[in-house]
Amino acid sequence: MSPVVLTVQRDILAESRAAAAEFRSEMARRGTLVVQLLSSPGSGKTSLLEATARYWQGRYKFAVLVGDLETDRDAQRLAPYVPAVQLTTGGACHLELPLVKRGLAALPAETWDFLFIENVGNLVCPASHDLGEHLRVILLSVPEGDDKPGKYPKAFRTSQALVVSKADLLPYVPFSVEAAIADARRIQPDLAVCTVSSVRGEGIAEWCAYLEASRSSLWESTHAAAPPR
C-alpha cells in the first residue's frame, strides 16, 4: 500500500495556548492583571516585588506565585508583605499553566487587583510558555551586562516591558542603559522600559504607575468603564 500524506499545519502548543487564553480572559473578568516576571536567577524579581509592596502600602490587593526548582525561600521573603505561594518545579526549568492554576487555588479566596507570577530564573525555556499573563515583564540587572537582549532574543521578543534593575550599581559596572534598551528594541520595538533600584526605591514610582495604567486599560477593555478606585 502506498504512503498517505496527511497535511496538519497545526501549532504544537495550540492546546496549551488556548488554555492560557481562556485563563487570561477569566482573570480579566475578575479585574486581576496577571503579570509574569522573567529573568536570569538573581536579577532581583523578588526584590522588585518587595519594593512594589512597600510603595503601594496596601493600596492594591496583590498576590504572588513564585517558581523555583526547590525551597520556599522566596515565598518566605514575600510573606511579610503579601500572600505568596511557592511553586516548586522539582528540577523543571520553567512554569506551566497547570502549576499556576494550582498556586492560585492555594491563595486566599480574594479578588486580586494584581497577580504576579515570578517564573524560575531562566531566560530560555520560560519564553516559549504562555502562563495566561496579560503582561510579561523581563528584568535585566546591570551586573549581567548590557549585551544580553540580543543573546536571549526570544525572552525579550515576547515581553511587553523591560525593567533594568540594580541601577544603584551603575557606577561600579560597565553597563550602558541606552545600549541595553537599543539592543532589546531591535528585537521588540514596542518594549516599555523602567530603570529601578529596588533597594533604594528609585524608579519604583514609575514602575508602579506603569502597572496601574496597564490594569486600568485592561479593566476598560473588559468592563467598558474605569476601574473602581
Binding site: 504512503p3 498517505v4 496527511l6 496538519v8 499545519q9 497545526r10
Partner: protein, 135 residues
C-alpha cells in the same frame, strides 16, 4: 531544556491523528521550527530519537494505543523570520534577528513567520487511501 516535553506533545498529536486514520505505522513526521520558536532543533532530534525507542503510548486517554513510531523519520524545516512592514507594507524575509525592514528601515514590523513550532504533515504507510485532512 524543555524540548522533551514539546516532543512528547508532538508525539501525542501524531499518535492521535494516526489512530483516527486507522494507521499503525508512521513513516515521516514533518515539523516547522521557526528561528525564534525558542526550540533547539538538535535537542528536538535527540529527544525524538530517545522517546520513540520506548515504543510506549503517548496518549494519556488511550494508554493501550500502540502506534509504531520507531521507524518514523523526523523532517525539520527551519523557517526564517518574515512578515509585513507596517510602514511601507512590503513583505520581507529577515536574514537575522534584527527586526528592521529591509526596504525602508522601519522597526514597525508585523511578523507572520519564524516564531512557530508546528506540525506540518505526517506520512502514514498503511492507512486507507481515503484519508482526509483532520482540520
Amino acid at each position: 531544556m524543555h524540548e522533551t516535553g514539546l516532543v512528547q506533545s508532538l508525539l501525542r498529536q501524531v499518535s492521535e491523528l494516526a489512530n483516527r486514520q486507522g494507521a499503525s505505522c508512521v513513516q515521516e513526521i514533518e515539523i516547522e521550527i521557526g528561528v525564534l520558536a525558542g526550540v533547539e532543533p538538535l535537542l528536538v532530534e535527540s529527544a525524538f530519537a530517545r522517546l520513540v525507542q520506548g515504543g510506549d503510548s503517548f496518549e494519556k486517554n488511550n494508554p493501550a494505543a500502540r502506534l509504531d513510531l520507531r521507524s518514523a523519520r523526523l523532517m525539520m524545516r527551519s523557517v526564517p523570520l518574515g512578515g509585513v512592514c507596517r510602514d511601507c507594507h512590503r513583505e520581507f524575509n529577515l536574514p537575522n534577528l534584527d527586526l528592521l525592514c529591509p526596504s525602508c528601515g522601519s522597526r514597525a514590523l508585523r511578523l507572520t513567520r519564524g516564531e512557530a513550532f508546528r506540525l506540518l504533515s505526517i506520512t502514514l504507510n498503511d492507512a486507507p487511501q481515503t484519508a482526509e485532512s483532520p482540520l
